[in-house]
């Protein structure tokens, strides 16, 4: 999100301070609108929750909860973003895919007592196969994604029901769950042990972050590329480190650092890198923005589209493994409406419904926004039916805001 706007756009030595100004004005606010909306939402919930004397939004247990409840949305939204980038293509089969892979996982791990690592590999490969199946029809035969994935939505759910035979498979062995559903350090550590371990991890993260930032800055300076003003970089680094420390401090007060956070961090970082720093990632944007121009520039758009859907299948499998662990069971109805959460997160996070525009960080913010909305309303004791209606309206409002602000920019 902070990718471009925080550096002045023309290299003009000596005038940096003059050019920095507008970046912290309206433009900066507009670029990061959803981030500020998210902060506002959190503050609003905190005020309401404290006023009604229902504890605190920042209660350590609640933050842990927030993460384990929404990890699957973040992962699915990341995959969905790639599909949307290719030209507004969506994947409706995501929820059913989670159910199907969940059913396979249950059969292999619980019923057949298969080696856990082997089972995980089989599940991931099955996910890739599902994605490739749909990707083939969408990319190479050019059947509209809406239709292929609608068919997938029905087919996968049907297959999941057949495999499960309508019953729930549980429980999962502890050996499996600890990879998705446990905390660092282990459950028997003392309270002070948890706190010090959490803070130690946070400290390591901060050091790594500072080191990477510093390295890239020095590297740029050596090559005489433009770097942002030192003050700005310092403030940003400090804010991010403070945030990391604060969140991990909260973890330390509860059960420790959720293991799932590692999976999430790796996936988000990898896909952020993929979309912003790699050639195939760039091709997704080019294709979604103007497929013909991309073809004329030598981009293999079929391959890009095929990859987006195959990758979606892979992330569906990851989400499925996480979900069965969290529910400690595989059941037919798992994953219902997950596709809608993922699609909603992408659009709230600023992806364009026509493709070519959107970022992974935006989608993560979108997913967290939805999660916070759910979580906050639940704490406040708002009726579940009302929660749904509110979510719908928020989704529409986010897209309206996006479209209107874009129109205004065009003038």
């Amino acid at each position: 999100m902070l990718k471009w706007k925080d550096k002045p756009q023309k290299i003009q030595g000596g005038e940096d301070t003059l050019q920095e100004k507008p970046t912290f004005g309206l433009g900066f606010l507009k670029q990061n609108m959803m981030l500020f909306a998210l902060i506002l939402l959190v503050v609003l919930f905190q005020i309401l929750i404290v006023a009604q004397d229902k504890g605190s939004f920042f209660a350590p247990a609640n933050i842990t909860n927030l993460i384990s409840q929404n990890s699957y949305v973040v992962i699915l939204a990341t995959g969905m973003l790639l599909c949307i980038l290719t030209g507004g293509n969506i994947d409706l089969s995501v929820g059913s895919g989670v159910a199907l892979i969940g059913a396979i996982a249950g059969t292999l791990i619980v019923n057949m007592h298969m080696n856990i690592y082997l089972a995980i590999v089989i599940c991931l490969l099955s996910g890739i196969a599902l994605g490739a199946w749909q990707g083939f029809w969408i990319a190479y035969v050019r059947i509209p994604s809406f239709i292929v994935t609608l068919a997938g939505m029905l087919t996968f759910r049907g297959l999941a029901l057949i495999i499960l035979n309508g019953v729930t498979i549980s429980p999962y062995p502890e050996e499996y769950k600890r990879y998705f559903n446990s905390f660092l350090p282990g459950g028997d550590a003392s309270a002070s042990g948890k706190m010090s371990a959490s803070l130690a991890i946070a400290a390591v993260l901060c050091v790594v972050f500072v080191a990477v930032s510093a390295y890239s800055r020095i590297h740029k300076q050596r090559k005489q590329y433009h770097v942002e003003a030192f003050g700005v970089a310092l403030v940003r680094t400090l804010v991010i480190c403070a945030l990391i420390l604060a969140v991990f401090w909260l973890f330390g007060q509860d059960k420790g650092v959720p293991v799932i956070l590692i999976t999430l961090g790796v996936i988000v970082a990898a896909y952020h890198y993929y979309t912003s720093k790699t050639v195939p990632g760039r091709y997704l944007y080019a294709m979604g923005g103007n497929e013909k121009a991309a073809v004329f520039s030598g981009v293999n758009t079929n391959r890009a589209l095929f990859f987006a859907y195959t990758n979606m299948g892979f992330l569906v499998a990851v989400a499925a493994l996480i979900c069965v662990s969290r529910f400690d069971s595989s059941f037919p109805a798992v994953g219902t409406n997950y596709e809608l959460d993922a699609i909603g997160a992408c659009f709230i996070g600023g992806a364009s419904a026509y493709g070519g525009v959107g970022t992974v960080s935006g989608s993560v913010i979108g997913a967290v926004f939805m999660g916070v909305l759910n979580n906050g309303m639940s704490i406040l004791g708002i009726d579940a039916n009302w929660q749904r209606a509110v979510k719908g309206i928020v989704l529409l409002a986010a897209v309206i805001m996006d479209v209107v602000s874009r129109k205004r920019r065009r003038g």
């Binding site: 756009q9 050639v279 121009a293 991309a294 073809v295 030598g298 525009v357 065009r410």
Partner: protein, 509 residues
């Protein structure tokens, strides 16, 4: 003196602080063809959008007096009721609907809940006859050429009982022949009492048909020239538009022609769907340091030839020999073409050239990501620096490389498109309509750039429907018609007549 059909007084319009029009005065007499000219961004379209109600009353300052009444339009419907019809450059027809359905779209015959289709088709035939279009009113829009679609738009305007017809660049995407027909139609309508305002970059056409010419520059009216009173030659109009005498529209160049860089022998391309040859035994040579033009009517197979050479992007069963620097090569994909240092700068920058939603930076580097990446990893700093260099080299006017390509003017978009292909470091550039729809100043810059390219010993193959451009820029000219090269002319000896007669003779044989 004739009656004023329309008067626009002291029109001022600002877009979020930027003044697009300032104190513009503009009037149109009953029954005239009034041309409105100016460089891109001079405010022509804004003025017409105010007149047609796109920017409704309250969004601008000044007043519009039409047929002697003060008008306050709040939308296109209001202005259409008064008989003011605007035909935009990008035609507003639905491809999957028939001519008649399009003609009465929004203006249906019969009742709202019971359309009278018999009357619709019958009336459509009537208007088609008036505009001289020999097509059934049942034909779908997607099956007829752009030239004919333009006529359908005019018929549609007539069906709405047009009094003041506004045409925005009506001949921009038409070939000479269709343009001529369209201009004749305008003259015919004029004799039947239709008043027209025509926005155009093609000054020769304006000199031919316009009764009066109003010149806009930087959002203000500069002058209005009257036929028969003032000089309305092209040179005079250009002087008004750019504020200075543009002594020569084509920069001078010394030719230093070298060896053959690209040769095509017996090139045959079949239509992707039908059993028809789009290119039929084309032989063509291009030398280093040479600008070669391909002239011809729309649909002659020029772009198709270029695309089939450029990595078989078009057609099937392509046969023939392709030689680069005397060596035979086979190019199967766009990537291979780029690797062989060929660049094809596409005809339509909006639909097949640029990714409009993306910034200038990524557009500039898209065709050759290898230059800024290593094992698939993009070096963002290097990319930004190279994009900066390119935009500076081509003189793109922008607020920096992060500005989206879609927000640039046509001329600057074209320059970004050139940036993109210069980034592939080509030796052979195929430029397809390189100056379509851009203003005189930007055209001159692009011509200068082409001259720089050939001075660096590169070869340029230029496909263009604008004959003056072909004649002014090329060392050699091929004339293409129905998939075949029908004439080859030396640039110095070629004339518009020789090119046309090349086409006509081929038709006769």
């Amino acid at each position: 003196m004739k009656n004023h059909l329309l008067e626009m007084h002291h029109i001022t319009k600002t877009f979020s602080g930027v003044r697009a029009l300032y104190d513009v005065n503009f009037d149109v007499e009953e029954g005239e063809i009034h041309a409105l000219v100016g460089e891109n961004g001079a405010g022509k379209s804004t003025l017409m959008n105010i007149l047609s109600g796109v920017y409704g009353y309250g969004n601008y300052e000044g007043e519009i007096i039409y047929e002697g009444e003060l008008c306050r339009f709040s939308g296109i419907r209001d202005s259409e009721k008064k008989g003011i019809i605007i035909i935009h450059q990008e035609l507003a027809l639905v491809p999957q609907m028939s001519i008649a359905e399009n003609m009465f779209l929004g203006n249906e015959r019969g009742k709202a809940l019971n359309i009278n289709w018999d009357e619709t088709y019958q009336e459509a035939e009537k208007y088609l006859k008036i505009v001289g279009l020999k097509e059934s009113s049942h034909t779908l829009i997607k099956d007829i050429s752009v030239g004919k679609q333009q006529l359908v738009e005019i018929a549609k305007a007539l069906a709405k009982r047009v009094r003041l017809l506004i045409l925005d660049e009506p001949t921009a995407s038409l070939n000479e022949d269709d343009s001529q027909k369209l201009l004749n139609l305008l003259l015919q309508l004029k004799s039947e009492g239709v008043t027209s305002i025509m926005i155009s970059h093609k000054l020769s056409e304006i000199s031919k048909v316009a009764d009066r010419i109003t010149i806009l520059r930087d959002g203000s009216t500069i002058e209005t020239l009257q036929k028969g009173v003032d000089d309305i030659g092209e040179g005079r109009i250009i002087k008004g538009m750019v504020g200075r005498e543009l002594s020569d529209r084509f920069p001078a160049r010394e030719s230093h022609i070298g060896d053959v860089s690209l040769e095509i022998r017996d090139w045959i391309v079949y239509h992707p769907l039908y059993e028809r040859k789009v290119c039929d035994g084309v032989n063509l040579k291009l030398r280093r340091g040479e600008v070669v033009g391909i002239s011809g009517l729309m649909g002659a197979g020029r772009s198709e030839l270029a695309m089939s050479v450029f990595g078989k992007l078009y057609g099937r069963d392509i046969s023939g020999t392709l030689l680069l620097d005397g060596k035979e090569v086979e190019i199967k994909t766009v990537r291979e073409a780029i690797a062989h240092k060929i660049a094809y700068v596409t005809e339509d920058r909006k639909t097949s050239g640029l990714v409009l939603s993306n910034p200038i930076r990524t557009n500039a580097t898209l065709a050759n990501m290898d230059r800024i990446s290593n094992m698939g990893r993009i070096d963002a700093d290097r990319e930004a620096m190279m994009a900066e260099e390119l935009t500076e080299m081509l003189g793109v006017k922008c607020n920096g490389i992060e500005q989206s390509a879609g927000s640039l003017s046509g001329g600057n978009q074209q320059k970004v498109l050139l940036c993109k292909w210069m980034f592939t470091e080509p030796d052979i550039l195929i430029l397809d309509e390189p100056t379509r729809g851009i203003d005189v100043g930007a055209k001159y810059e692009i011509y200068t750039f082409i001259n720089e390219l050939v001075a660096q010993n590169k070869s340029v193959l230029m496909i263009s429907s604008e004959m003056p451009e072909i004649l002014g820029m090329c060392d050699r000219i091929y004339v293409m018609n129905e998939g075949r090269i029908v004439a080859e002319l030396d640039g110095k000896e070629a004339t518009q007549e020789k090119i046309m007669s090349g086409i006509l003779r081929a038709d006769a044989s």
